[in-house]
């Protein structure tokens, strides 16, 4: 296999994810990489960011001399409040989440399975301090849950898998995944690549995906690649 070029940068993944956010959406962005998406909302679209510690209308980080220690985001970092913002307590905040009032959340992932299962809160290691925060509430309550992540871990292990090995955050919750190599939809038939990063081939991405991947790019002839037969064509012997 030839060595493909680097995939998309974190900023490029964020920019791609931002393209899919409709004007007027109420959105929660997970701590870490997904936070970058806020910087790439296309001109002319207004979105309202929710941070689960109690703010709708979250703005960017303040200047260092304008930090208010009582105005922070869910990652405990100083933020600002945009015109039209609102503060609220935790029960109201999670009523917004659990009650289906948020249009979209984009979260990080340790693993996403072909059935939409998400693992992003625990390595399951016995010496780790258990901590879950609002991740389980978000995936069970927000109408659309998407993931932004690198396609593989630093050591090259695929994060898109047939079945999660880490403890689940939620079952069957993820609908779309933005990675440095592709945009992948979770469909009833498993993973479907709808876009492939420039310079990469479908086969190269499929080889880095630990579950069958269908080529669903516009104009693509139906092909499947991966470790096992895709379930849509599985014979019923």
């Amino acid at each position: 296999m030839s060595t493909p070029p680097p995939g998309l940068t974190r900023d490029q993944i964020a920019e791609r994810a931002a393209q899919d956010i409709a004007d007027g959406s109420y959105v929660n962005l997970g701590i870490g990489m997904p936070e970058l998406i806020a910087q790439y909302v296309p001109e002319g679209r207004e979105i309202v960011l929710h941070t689960e510690n109690g703010l709708l209308g979250m703005g960017p980080a303040p200047a260092p001399d304008a930090v208010d220690p009582e105005l922070i985001n869910a990652g405990k970092k100083p933020v600002t409040a945009n015109p039209g913002a609102a503060y609220f307590h935790h029960a109201d905040s999670f009523a917004m989440v659990r009650g289906g009032h948020l249009d979209l959340c984009v979260l990080g992932a340790m693993e996403v399975a072909a059935n939409g299962d998400l693992a992003n809160w625990s390595t399951g290691q016995s010496d780790a301090i258990p901590a879950v925060g609002g991740a389980m509430d978000l995936v069970s309550g927000v109408r659309v849950v998407r993931v932004m992540t690198t396609h593989c871990t630093r050591d090259g292990t695929p994060k898109l898998v047939e079945k999660c090995t880490y403890p689940l955050t939620g079952a069957g919750v993820v609908s779309r995944i933005y990675t440095d190599l592709a945009v992948v939809d979770v469909t009833p038939e498993g993973f479907a690549a709808v876009e492939i990063a420039p310079g990469w081939s479908f086969d190269e991405v499929a080889a880095r995906t630990d579950a069958p991947l269908r080529d669903a790019r516009p104009g693509a002839v139906a092909t499947n690649r991966g470790g096992s037969e895709p379930r849509s064509t599985r014979s019923s012997r």
Binding site: N53, I72, K76, H89, A91, R98, A135, M136, D137
Partner: protein, 236 residues
């Protein structure tokens, strides 16, 4: 006459007894009732169960209470901190118990406790290991988990402004768990930066009505946990 003012933080927390359950407001470093928690450290009660989203920062506030060996159990959602190993050290050594609860479930269990709802079903955590051992039931084909209300003997919370009746306003995201913890405790103790006579707060803007508050302590210039941690402060 109703006047819930108490002269000092020490007086406000004096009756907290060994083995009791204490809700402590705050999310991260925002909204930590530092002066009340430090008064609790001075007071000496131990074997406490603390209900708080996090397990403290740096070497002050809740982290200091844990370091002093006063906390037997934490009920919270995210007891990891990038600036404190106090909880982690005790947890790994088996000196402190943890009940891990998803953040929204923690909030709703507290709200339910304050609202007289003994338990409720939530989709959060279904099909995860945090639902293990809990009653589960399907509604419209969606699995739900039965979660029980949380109540406490005490709540320690930080407000921006109060009046003698205990009506409260908060400051920005320091509001977090304050309003719901105030509802869910037998005795709710509030520290507020301003404390005015009845009528000093606009009834239309009151966030927590005074019926949920028992004691109000005026802490005019409260320490910010954010600043104390940045300075490397150590309590006591």
């Amino acid at each position: 006459m109703i006047d819930k003012r108490v002269a000092s933080a020490a007086e406000a927390v004096a009756e907290i007894a060994d083995g009791e359950t204490v809700m402590i407001g705050g999310f991260g470093e925002a909204g930590s009732p530092i002066e009340l928690v430090h008064a609790l450290i001075d007071q000496g009660a131990s074997d406490l169960t603390v209900i708080s989203n996090n397990a403290g920062n740096g070497q002050v506030g809740l982290a200091a209470l844990i370091r002093c060996g006063r906390v037997a159990k934490i009920v919270g959602s995210y007891p990891r901190s990038s600036n404190s190993t106090v909880f982690a050290d005790d947890y790994r050594a088996g000196r402190i118990e943890l009940e891990l609860v998803p953040q929204g479930t923690l909030a709703e269990r507290i709200r339910a406790g304050g609202a007289g709802i003994p338990a409720f079903y939530t989709p959060t955590g279904a099909a995860t290991e945090l639902a293990d051992g809990k009653e589960q039931r399907s509604f419209d084909g969606v699995p739900h988990v039965l979660e029980h209300a949380l109540r406490a003997d005490w709540a320690l919370i930080k407000a921006g402004a109060a009046d003698w009746h205990g009506n409260l306003l908060f400051n920005k995201t320091a509001r977090n768990f304050g309003p719901i913890m105030a509802m869910a405790a037998q005795t709710t103790v509030v520290q507020a930066a301003t404390v005015g006579a009845p009528g000093s707060l606009d009834p239309e803007t009151v966030v927590t009505p005074g019926i949920f508050v028992n004691r109000v302590v005026h802490i005019a210039d409260p320490a910010q946990e954010f600043d104390l941690v940045a300075q490397g402060a150590h309590y006591p």
